[in-house]
Amino acid sequence: MELLRAVGCLQYSGSDPESPVLEVRAKEPLLGREKTLTAPIDTGFAGYLLVPRDLYAELGTMELPREDFGIYSTMAGSVTLRRAEVKLSVGDKEVDTFIETPLYGTGRMLLGRRILSELDLALLGRKRMCCHLRQAKKLKTT
């Protein structure tokens, strides 16, 4: 296993118990508007970056056709999410990905597994910190 270093840590936030969060910068490709967002990470959500409806109205300027909307299965039945193209910067990574919002309902902010699986992260639970991981320089052995 390689040696990794935790960098760019962000304090957990939200209601007790607090959630691990990441700062992401989302840029919509039509008018170039950008927003910096603090999104709770959610390993239970298979999707991309879920955002509230009002934020989607602002950033979801290039929406996919209805047939490409995501349909997620939950214990309460299926939920359809609208989907739009967005450029996302997380840590030192920039990815072309999607934002999503419910077809019905107001939505909320969540970073799902399709984006999390592109990142190397560490949760320092006792310190309440979510950190990016970078390869550390090799230790000198004598």
């Binding site: 239970g44 929406e63 056709p65 209805r66 349909i71 997620y72 939950t74 214990m75």
Partner: protein, 104 residues
């Protein structure tokens, strides 16, 4: 009521009405773009494989190699919203949503 003044309540009601009006207009345009896309789908699959196709105002605006060019194409047509599809690209359909954050 909720401990707010009548003028504040009126202001909030007007804002909610304007927001819903804007949202309805956006939904109408979205619907028109989807109808136009569905109508041209066979042709798009034949002619624009691996390219981004862009629809705005209920009509086909053109195709582009990259997402940035697709955005520029919509902007050049004075669109503030557009439908974009990469023809032939495999999009994940969705997946499982565990019980963690369901509060829609």
């Amino acid at each position: 009521m909720r401990g707010i003044s009548l003028s504040k309540a009126l202001e909030q009601a007007v804002k909610a009405w304007l927001d819903s009006k804007q949202e309805n207009a956006a939904l109408d345009e979205n619907e028109a773009n989807n109808v136009a896309y569905e109508r041209m789908k066979d042709q798009l699959n034949r002619k624009y494989r691996d390219r981004y196709v862009v629809f705005g105002g209920g009509r086909f605006l053109g195709s582009a190699d990259t997402l940035e060019q697709a955005g520029a194409l919509a902007r050049a047509n004075a669109e503030r919203r557009a439908l974009v599809a990469k023809i032939g690209a495999k999009r994940p359909a969705g997946g499982e949503w565990l019980w963690s954050s369901l509060e829609l």
